[in-house]
């Protein structure tokens, strides 16, 4: 079948502003949008630029705005979208070229929440023990692949780019609720900042956007509750 693939193109060396281009692509209904982009690059315009690596939803390279929703191009099929498909870079992040956005600010926020295990106790000879219940407590947020689909779907982030955003909070959650971690206090202090969790308006765009099915809003609310609980 043929689809009309509309792509928001931008070449900073030639274009004054982003503009739409439409490509006719012959596809299989089971093809992913990433397959389509690769076909266009191979057969129609080699200059089309986008990030991709693993091609099956684990590396998080190819998050983009597809038919008005943030998704990974390698995880959404043509038969889920129909014959008219539009692809644009993630909203709210500076565009570098075509579908490639600037990610350094996003990763900077990730680093700012101390996204690593903090535990200064002497290490035992063998593994630390952890019950299955304690392990399950933070399972959901271990799935995050840092694709930025959630943060770039968040109106609070669009309105105030200084906001840490859902992804960084998810990463903090993963440690705050890990029974082996002792850094909750210092992390919660960062997250209680004016650009921390309070910017969340529970709009749930992040939950819709997450390709890993993480309940992002719940994680943010759990972090908020932990801050309140500590203050109480």
């Amino acid at each position: 079948m043929n689809v009309d693939l509309r792509i928001l193109r931008y070449d900073p060396e030639h274009d004054p502003a982003p503009h739409w281009e439409t490509y006719q692509v012959n596809v299989d209904p089971m093809d992913r949008v990433l397959d389509l982009l690769i076909k266009v690059k191979a057969d129609q315009d080699g200059s089309l630029s986008f990030r991709r690596s693993c091609g099956h939803g684990i590396c998080g390279s190819d998050a983009m705005l597809i038919n008005s929703r943030n998704r990974l191009a390698c995880r959404i099929r043509v038969d889920q979208l129909g014959r008219k498909i539009s692809v644009a870079p993630l909203p709210g992040l500076p565009v570098v070229k075509d579908l490639i956005v600037e990610m350094s600010g996003f990763f900077g926020k990730y680093r700012s929440v101390k996204p690593y295990l903090i535990n200064d106790q002497p290490e035992p000879e063998r593994e630390r023990l952890q019950s299955q219940v304690d392990r399950a407590r933070f399972d959901d947020t271990t799935k995050c692949i840092l694709c930025a689909a959630c943060t770039a779907s968040c109106p609070s982030f669009w309105a105030r780019p200084e906001y840490l955003g859902p992804a960084a909070i998810v990463q903090a959650h993963r440690f705050i609720f890990d029974s082996r971690d002792e850094g909750a206090a210092e992390r919660l202090e960062i997250l209680a900042d004016e650009d921390g969790v309070w910017r969340c308006r529970t709009i749930f765009n992040c939950v819709d956007a997450c390709p890993r099915g993480i309940n992002v809003t719940r994680a943010i609310l759990e972090v908020s509750s932990a801050i309140v609980g500590r203050r109480g």
């Binding site: 200059s47 630029s49 991709r52 630390r128």
Partner: protein
């Protein structure tokens, strides 16, 4: 620009990140260069687990793990290296847990373990629970955990810097030169930079993208291996490439062996568990080379599903709880990429190109060696899939890729730190960027209208899949060799449409295709030369293993008209070669 460092790590998968962590802990001034972002690295896609003889659920010993590794590799494994692998697997897994890796847990809170292909108790008696896992996302957790630790220790990253050449001081490696750094292209603006260092680690992963159906990421184009080859360092055992039995039909995405480790079965069109005929003891948990061959045999005998070229992986009997808690991602892959519901339907699978056993030859300190007597290239290191220690021999066991990159990534970092303390930093090298600049400009400057790199890549992937796959024979390999040579000639005339400097991914893909062509050429030549069947290299015209003639590693040196082969002996310490049955 010229960046002076003491150590450079190329690639930010598991091996590179662990090495960087060791270097940071030792206070060595280190930079990690990656053509992706670190968390995009392919280590993240590993699913089933990492084997270590922790004995958390049943008796286990590192000697058993070592034996399985040697036998799994069809005795081409260097046994001194396999001993290091199996012993140090235990401490590296414990250390990962201390770093925060969220392993699944046993009811008493220990790291949970499950069965995996070819891993047995008591030297082959029966499958053993050795694979430590975090659902079917073990690689993701390893990559995240190591990156987290690097962030904690302030490791300096140069994200989206693609290394395009190696620098040496005092001549090329063959003339005794030492590593002096790398040349890298910043993707954001196309500028070339030099990174000088005393010690350079190549941790650039595999090159499965030379095959049409592969589990490998688009970025796995063998950059580090090919750069070594072009600088006169031989590459080892390139005829051994693993095809994983359970890839998603047509696109190759992996469905973890963990599905079989948890009790999943393989079925043919008659509904038979056909592995009974090929490996009566281990059945579906036989090593991957044997399972992939069995699948081809079934397909050839007309017992593929509906007579077609695939079989079924069946996990329905495991029940919802096991499937959702222990195999959530692969269940999701089957739903998304095949539209199949594993809870109620069997999943169509076929072998997919998965892992390079061969690569850059190193010793057990991860130092690159450059000839048949293991002369070290000072300052140059390699670890992970791009390296060949050789712990995988002719066929890698499941999970041992992760064990390899953890154990030898860690060793590389420690050895680099020691080495960096003993030598001076190399001086800047005049015009170091010029050779690769000329290569890139030749592609970019060529008049439009030539063939595209994409067209040549498609033909390369097709011929490698069809003629250099699970089964091989002399005639088809000769056809493949002629085809690869033809593609190399056509590659010299390709042109691209994007002449820009910002994220010129077309230029990079064209450059990477050059690496794939080099490595495909070596693979075919080495496969044609090895007139025996061993591990993943299965010659229909030479179906038997021949230890008298072929118990040796191949080394391919770049020559004027293609690779020249030489050979070096296998290290055998504990286990004499025996027939390999399961």
């Amino acid at each position: 620009m010229d960046y002076p460092f003491d150590a450079i790590v190329v690639g930010a998968g598991g091996a590179g990140l662990w090495a960087a962590l060791e270097l940071a802990r030792e206070g060595v001034n280190t930079a990690v260069l990656t053509k992706l972002y670190p968390t995009r690295s392919h280590t993240g896609t590993a699913q089933g687990g990492v084997c270590a003889a922790l004995g958390n659920l049943e008796e286990d010993h590192w000697e058993w793990h070592m034996f399985d590794t040697v036998k799994g590799g069809d005795y081409l494994v260097d046994q001194d290296a396999a001993e290091v692998l199996a012993r140090e697997a235990i401490e590296t897994v414990i250390e990962l847990e201390h770093m925060g890796l969220p392993f699944n847990r046993t009811p008493d809170g220990k790291i949970d373990q499950r069965k995996f292909g070819g891993h047995t108790r008591n030297f082959g008696e029966a499958a053993v629970r050795r694979s430590c896992f975090a659902a079917d996302r073990t690689g993701h957790m390893i990559l995240q955990t190591l990156y987290q630790q690097c962030v904690k220790h302030g490791v300096k990253f140069f994200d989206e810097f693609q290394v395009v050449d190696l620098m040496f001081e005092g001549g090329e490696p063959a003339a005794g030169g030492r590593a002096a750094g790398v040349v890298a292209r910043r993707l954001a603006d196309g500028q070339l930079h030099t990174f000088r260092a005393k010690a350079v680690l190549l941790a650039t992963g595999g090159f499965g993208r030379m095959f049409r159906i592969t589990s490998n990421a688009h970025s796995l184009t063998g950059d580090g291996v090919a750069m070594c080859y072009r600088h006169g360092i031989p590459i080892e055992d390139m005829e051994f490439f693993q095809f994983h039995p359970t890839g998603i039909v047509g696109i190759g995405i992996l469905l973890s062996e963990a599905a079989r480790g948890e009790g999943g079965t393989l079925l043919n069109d008659l509904g038979e568990r056909f592995m009974e005929r090929y490996a009566p003891k281990l059945m579906e948990l036989a090593p991957r080379d044997m399972v992939s061959r069995a699948m081809y045999q079934e397909i050839r005998a007309g017992r593929g599903i509906g007579g077609k070229d695939y079989l079924y992986l069946d996990v329905r009997h495991l029940g919802r709880k096991v499937i959702e808690e222990k195999l959530p991602d692969i269940t999701d892959f089957a739903r998304i990429y095949q539209g199949v519901e594993p809870l109620t339907e069997p999943v169509p699978v076929q072998p997919t190109a998965h892992y390079a056993m061969g690569g850059i030859p190193t010793n057990v300190q991860a130092e690159v060696v450059r000839d048949e007597i293991d002369a070290v290239v000072p300052g140059l290191f390699a670890a992970g899939e791009c390296a060949c220690v050789s712990v995988h021999g002719a066929n890698r066991l499941g999970t041992n890729s992760l064990v390899d990159l953890l154990v030898f990534g860690r060793r590389a970092g420690r050895q680099m730190a020691r080495y960096a303390g003993t030598v001076e930093r190399p001086m800047p090298i005049a015009d170091a960027v010029e050779p690769v600049r000329a290569q890139l400009e030749a592609i970019r400057g060529r008049a439009a209208g030539g063939e595209s790199a994409a067209a040549i890549r498609t033909e390369l992937q097709a011929v490698m899949m069809d003629d250099v796959g699970v089964y091989r024979d002399g005639k088809l390999l000769s056809v493949a060799l002629a085809k690869v040579r033809e593609l190399e000639a056509r590659y010299e005339k390709i042109s691209i449409t994007d002449c820009g400097t910002v994220f010129n991914t077309e230029l990079l893909e064209a450059h990477e295709l050059g690496y794939l062509l080099d490595l495909a050429h070596v693979t075919v030549v080495a496969a044609l030369a090895r007139t025996e069947s061993r591990g993943a290299h299965s010659r229909e015209d030479y179906p038997e293993r021949d230890d008298t003639k072929w118990l040796k590693h191949s080394l391919a040196y770049q020559g004027k008209d293609g690779p020249n082969l030489r050979y070096k002996p296998v290290s055998i310490t504990r286990f004499e070669p025996k027939p390999r049955t399961y």
